[in-house]
Subunit: 266 residues, 2 copies
């Protein structure tokens, strides 16, 4: 089996004790800066290797500098190796500049415990073909949109016509192109792939750099399209949060996320 | 001004380059294990010292071993010092055993930007004197309940009588005893002080060890009682999340949290 484009673009190789080499591939950027979920996925691949555990149960990334195409050095440290989980940290650097600090706990999510409480449901989306495909074109939609296959709920895509609907929410379908499966590392990408929720608000905010992103993975996704929902409730103190949920084709919640982003002072 | 009991119990002192010494004080435990927010506060104090920035804008803790009273060594690493923020990590150890790994971004929240979107409100609580004070007594409520002053919404305290109301939610008032102000480090404690939401569910879960806790601080709290709300929507895959909000006496959202906890296999 040949590795898919996402797996290839997030590959890491060992480069000595606790050190890995990866690379930011071209085309994974938005306005020149590598997508945050993509960067996190590179760090998570290094930590999967460092811990020997296949699944990121929870990972937190702090974004330090924009990522540009080119080689990335990853230094890892395993803090604890337990029976069920291992906890480890990583710093990604490029040209001697820190890009990303990651702290995560890794395990094996093969076994899926029963759902005991589910107070929520997948987003109600029209069929894929009735949703909006923001295909890349010029500066916007960005080239990144060719690396993922996202289809937005029509109600949440009006911002792209300059007509935000006033609700800081984005819902849509997600998969990887070329039939590449989305594993638990791929979920890290999906959790930060959609346009910012704030684009659908009435606020004149064009750019919200992520300070911190935390992901929780509950289960390995079943094959097929994923349904995603991102919402923002509070834009205060110069920050906003964006909460994400991903549901798989079997109607299971497979991941949650929360990020803290800056609201640049106008 | 004399430091209050919380400030004293979370004090750290420099112990060489990047190293600090603190101590887990007695009485901050639940069934013998130090409260998770208290442990995080010790780590955050070390990182405030290491970064020279007064406020934890966001901090993530991974819980590795239970904390017992006694000395704690804290090793810190500053990953990036920027103009506005600094990002740093810490590992707390006791008897050569790692207790906690922390990654945080620190800054100065003196200036408070305008609230641009507030889709939510403080929990609607009866007056403090009509809420339920789970005063410590024997094994439960735990001795920890004397270190904080928490008053639960009567509807959310029925679990303490063995009559959970079936809603995985806990709302209540919070302050520190003896008039000690709650600063942004104190918020780390408040975000993990209340009884688990799951105690109010119908699920027979008695113990939910925290894997990971992430805090976001939006503003320094105004003096006075804080209003807190914790909710759990998904108990799946052997995990649950608990989302927290803290509102201050001026009706401002001052902090959010999300934690991932294990649901032990019955």
């Amino acid at each position: 089996m040949t590795a898919g484009p996402f797996a290839t673009a997030t590959e890491v190789e060992s480069a000595g004790e606790h050190a890995y080499l990866g690379s930011i591939a071209p085309g994974w950027d938005i306005a020149g800066n590598a997508n945050g979920g993509y960067l996190l996925a590179i760090g998570v691949r290094a930590l999967v290797a460092a811990t020997g555990r296949p699944d990121p149960v929870t990972a937190t990334a702090h974004y330090l500098s924009p990522g540009r195409p080119g080689p990335v050095g990853i230094t890892t440290a395993v803090v604890k190796e337990g029976r069920r989980f291992a906890t480890a940290s990583a710093v990604l650097e490029s040209d001697g500049r820190p890009l990303l600090a990651v702290l995560g706990t890794f395990g094996d999510l093969t076994e899926d415990a029963a759902a005991l409480l589910v107070d929520g449901s997948p987003p109600d989306l029209p069929p894929v073909e009735e949703c909006v495909h923001l295909a890349p074109g010029g500066a916007w939609p960005p080239p990144f949109n060719a690396r993922v296959d996202m289809r937005l709920h029509p109600d949440d895509a009006s911002f792209a016509r300059g007509e935000p609907n006033g609700i800081a929410r984005v819902r849509g379908w997600f998969r990887l192109p070329d039939g590449e499966p989305v594993d638990t590392v791929g979920l890290q990408l999906a959790l930060d792939a959609f346009p910012p929720t704030i684009f659908n608000s009435d606020l004149p905010v064009g750019w919200t750099p992520t300070v911190e992103l935390t992901t929780h993975v509950r289960a390995r996704p079943a094959p097929g399209w994923l349904r995603c929902r991102f919402t923002t409730r509070f834009v205060t103190g110069g920050f906003l949060e964006e909460d994400g949920e991903i549901w798989d084709a079997e109607d299971r919640l497979v991941a949650q996320s929360r990020q803290l982003a800056l609201v640049p002072r106008g």
